[in-house]
């Protein structure tokens, strides 16, 4: 029976890659440890080693093929004594390529591992597709503009590149932003275009380069500081809060700090408690900061451009699991989205669901499920967490009379708690039910796939909360 060699994953979040080069050809004998091929993703390249011995029977995926799914069979190896006829004889082979792909699929982000037989709840797979429901009216986007499908990663990159072309004072600094093109390739090709003076690799010290950025901002530049993840920015928080956010005030308006701190925030896939922290409510708590957490690529681009031009320090919270997702982005110059304005992602009349960042996707999925049950949900994407656009939420609740606040982070002192408190304060008489909240379980995010999935809120949780406030 031939051995199927599959497309390997370079990281837990990799879903597909490019087969850049074959180092063997049909008929070659290989032994364990031989390099078979080179593959690459937008993050890195790696060599595929053979772990078995045999003769190359068939190269399934051609050299140069892009978007090869992780787990797809790329080569079939004939074992000792087998000939090519074995390649067509798949009868009784219960490890066929198709099934392998399906099994591997469970390693994808946002999906849980196999259900434990005694715990049905453990299998709470989310559909991998990302809802792209468009609002009926989007005042931010002119109606006559063409759309271009863009990943969030590239939308962020385009935003930085455009602003760097526009203003020589803008530069980007962080670990691995230059030669390596960013740990998540968000700074792809910026070094090539702008050079090492404006795309600056730094020593490994978040506290250090955050402080450098604050000093450079006060010295008249407009730095973009990339954190490899916001988890690592914990040691930089003194500069972000005590200096960037407070110095304008404490200096009586003399010392200005136009700076953007950006990077992935919140849970990723199987990276454990110290790489999955959602800091939304931490930074949203601080006067002097603006805090932005976009959901789709258009908002990522328009809001990052606005953040770079903003005269205040801006905390820009991205999401690792969203970098590779594609959305329509208006193909126009100077596409800016104002900081501080929420967006109605889906109009509805029965219940208002408020979310930000990746949770907007879960809320939109929930709205579709609710629609099947006759509940018409309105989904509001906060987009900016400080200043918080309460008016949009309150106006919606006055229409729907019911509120669900959904977020990926923990509940205590969370964004949802804040939104609910404001709605109770400003629209108490309009509420037909107490506001409901959806949030992460009150534990550090565990590593195991089933526990991770159980900890994080999903669309079913949002559906359940919405039905509760609708008394259904």
């Amino acid at each position: 029976m031939p051995i199927n060699i599959q497309m390997p994953a370079l990281s837990p979040t990799m879903e597909e890659g490019t087969l850049s080069k074959w180092l063997v050809k049909k008929g070659d004998s290989v032994t364990s440890g031989d390099i078979l091929a080179e593959i690459e993703t937008d993050k890195a390249t790696m060599e595929v080693e053979s772990i078995d011995e045999g003769v190359v029977g068939e190269i399934v995926v051609a050299e140069g093929a892009q978007n090869v799914k992780v787990g797809a069979v790329i080569l079939r190896l004939l074992e000792d004594g087998e000939d090519e006829s074995a390649l067509t004889d798949d009868s009784g082979d219960d490890t066929s390529a198709d099934e392998e792909i399906e099994d591997k699929g469970e390693d994808k982000p946002g999906t849980a591992g196999p259900a434990h037989p005694e715990n049905e709840d453990a299998n709470r797979d989310e559909p991998p597709s990302v809802p792209k429901t468009k609002p009926q009216n989007d005042p931010d986007i002119p109606t006559n503009v063409a759309m271009k499908e863009t990943t969030i990663r590239d939308a962020l990159r385009d935003a930085m590149a455009e602003e760097m072309r526009r203003d020589d004072k803008v530069f980007i600094m962080g670990e691995e932003v230059a030669e390596y093109q960013g740990a998540y390739k968000v700074t792809r090709e910026l070094l090539q275009e702008f050079g090492s003076r404006r795309v600056v690799d730094t020593p490994i010290t978040e506290h250090g380069f955050a402080g450098i950025g604050v000093g450079a901002a006060m010295g008249g530049l407009r730095p973009i500081v990339e954190f490899m993840t916001w988890n690592f920015a914990m040691q930089a928080i003194d500069h972000i809060i005590n200096s960037a956010a407070k110095t304008l005030y404490m200096s009586g308006g003399q010392m200005r700090c136009p700076i953007v701190f950006r990077g992935p925030n919140g849970a990723a896939s199987r990276v454990g408690a110290q790489h999955s922290h959602d800091y939304s409510s931490w930074y949203a708590n601080v006067p002097g900061l603006k805090v932005v957490a976009p959901y789709d690529a258009a908002d990522a681009k328009g809001l990052l451009k606005a953040a770079i031009r903003d005269p205040n320090p801006v905390v820009f919270l991205e999401h690792e699991l969203m970098y590779g997702e594609s959305f329509d982005v208006p193909d126009m110059d100077d596409f800016l989205i104002p900081i501080g304005k929420a967006k109605i992602r889906r109009e509805g009349s029965d219940v208002t669901i408020v979310a930000h960042s990746r949770m907007v996707g879960r809320a939109l999925e929930a709205a579709e499920k609710l629609a099947e049950e006759g509940i018409d949900a309105e989904v509001i994407d906060l987009r900016t967490l400080r200043p918080l656009d309460t008016d949009t939420v309150v106006a919606s609740v006055k229409k729907t009379n019911r509120l669900v606040c959904a977020e990926e982070g923990w509940g205590q002192s969370g964004i949802g708690a804040e939104v609910a408190a404001r709605v109770v304060n400003e629209a108490f008489d309009y509420l037909d039910a107490p506001p409901a909240r959806v949030f992460q379980k009150d534990v550090p995010l565990p590593y195991a796939a089933n526990l991770e999935a159980l900890s994080l809120p999903n669309s079913d949780d949002v559906v359940k909360a919405a039905k509760t406030v609708c008394y259904k």
Binding site: F171, R197, T202, P203, T205, H207, G208, F209, G211, I212, G213, V214, G215, A216, A217, M218, G219, G220, L221, Q235, D238, H239, N242, S243, T247, L248, Y249, M250, S251, G252, G253, Q254, M255, R256, P287, G288, K290, P311, N312, G340, P387, L388, T390
Partner: protein, 427 residues
């Protein structure tokens, strides 16, 4: 007879009497009740080391990190190749600025004791560091001071009345009551907002310096820390970034021996010097007699020239002594002998410059006393005009509505709403 310093009682390394390790907690040489005797502190007789080219390789200054640059001898003579040969006018400005700084500190300290302000910090004994440093920089060079470099503001001609009004928290406070006494902020005088979180400004100052280089500007940054806060990570980040990117800056460690009650050995162990910290980072390093204003001036000039010409950063340790308590909240007699500062072998910076001027034949005791009197009177008059605008014990007169300003560059809607609600409540 003088008691031997405690440090000599400390067992030497490996002489603890057993083969086991022992926890070693550094102790200052003298505690209250001891008679301080600093004869073990070596005061270089020769005014070494030599002055290298400001664009030399960093390792050529490794030796400077362990020695002490001095210009003023105790007999008043100025000697050696570090002697900046300042004009008499410059020397008189240095003396006057140091004496004005001291007079202001005296007045403000006394006024705090009378309940006119919540808090104050004196720089007594360290005036040469701030005044000498400021004189050797361009007025446009940005300084990132700690709370003991008020001499920079005096030297650069900042409004003493505004400084006092900030301390008194009255309607003349240029910061509208938004910061605490002594944490001044004067951008137009190249004086960065002092941070109450020690160390943060070190790395920010290096960032500012890198921004100057990025913009191809002539300016440099000069950042300060006390020796105590060199234990903060910021200090090490600052040294690393300054070295890596050859930032046009000066990193000053003012070693005044005391971080509140912790003597300098707590911050560093009983190592060689704070300047030597820079050697490992590949920085130029100078160690200077901080009570010798000519040496401070000369070392600063050297480092400023190096930074401005692209030679990169210099770490300067200013070796001095904090003559008074850390702040008005501190009583140093609890942890060090009362006469410790008098026993300090490097003297007082004002007295040393006075002696130099006398040795030049341009100064005498009478003139000095007259200057001290006029400084005191001038400070008294400025203080009176400042206190006429309010003080802590009376009603403060900071405009209520300014509270909502400068949180952001442009007030966001929610803050405008809070301000409106606030004004309705007041009306």
């Amino acid at each position: 007879m003088a008691k031997a310093p405690h440090s000599t009682d400390t067992p030497k390394r490996g002489q603890s009497g057993s083969n086991r390790s022992r926890l070693h907690v550094p102790e200052p040489p003298f505690r209250p009740g001891d008679t301080p005797d600093y004869s073990h502190v070596s005061v270089p007789v020769k005014h070494t080391p030599v002055r290298p080219d400001p664009l030399c390789e960093p390792h050529e200054t490794a030796d400077h990190a362990l020695k002490l640059i001095r210009v003023l001898r105790f007999n008043g003579e100025a000697v050696g190749d570090w002697n900046p040969n300042l004009s008499n006018d410059m020397l008189m400005k240095a003396l006057t600025d140091m004496m004005m700084t001291r007079a202001m500190d005296e007045r403000m300290f006394n006024m705090q004791r009378q309940g006119k302000m919540s808090f104050y910090m004196k720089s007594t004994g360290e005036e040469a560091v701030s005044v000498g440093h400021a004189m050797a920089l361009k007025n446009t060079d940005m300084t990132f001071p700690t709370y003991r470099q008020q001499g920079i503001l005096i030297s650069r001609g900042a409004s003493i009345k505004e400084m006092m009004c900030q301390c008194l928290s009255n309607s003349g406070d240029p910061l509208d009551g938004k910061s605490i006494p002594v944490l001044y902020s004067f951008k137009k005088h190249g004086f960065f907002s002092i941070s109450g979180n020690l160390g943060t400004q070190l790395i920010q100052g290096v960032g500012w310096a890198m921004a100057c280089a990025y913009k191809n500007e002539d300016g440099i940054a000069s950042v300060f820390t006390g020796e105590g806060a060199t234990a903060e990570g910021d200090f090490h980040y600052a040294l690393n970034f300054a070295s890596t990117y050859r930032a046009p800056c000066i990193i000053n460690v003012v070693n005044n021996q005391w971080a509140i009650s912790s003597y300098q050995g707590i911050a560093m162990g009983e190592g060689e010097s704070f300047a030597a910290r820079g050697t490992g980072y590949g920085l130029a390093t100078l160690r200077v007699d901080g009570n010798d204003i000519l040496a401070v001036y000369a070392a600063t000039k050297w480092a400023a020239e190096r930074a401005r010409k692209g030679g990169g950063a210099t770490l300067i340790e200013h070796f001095t002594y904090r003559q008074e308590g850390h702040s008005t909240s501190d009583d140093p007699s609890k942890y060090r002998p009362k006469d410790d500062s008098e026993a300090w072998p490097f003297g007082d910076p004002i007295a040393r410059l006075k002696k130099h001027l006398i040795s030049l034949g341009v100064w005498d005791d009478d003139k000095h006393d007259a200057l001290a009197k006029s400084c005191k009177e001038e400070i008294r008059d400025i203080y009176k005009s400042a206190e006429a605008m309010g003080n802590l014990s009376g009603a403060t007169h900071v405009n209520d509505y300014t509270m909502f300003e400068q949180v952001y560059e442009h007030p966001p809607e929610h803050l405008e709403r809070q301000r409106r609600m606030f004004s309705e409540e007041l009306d």
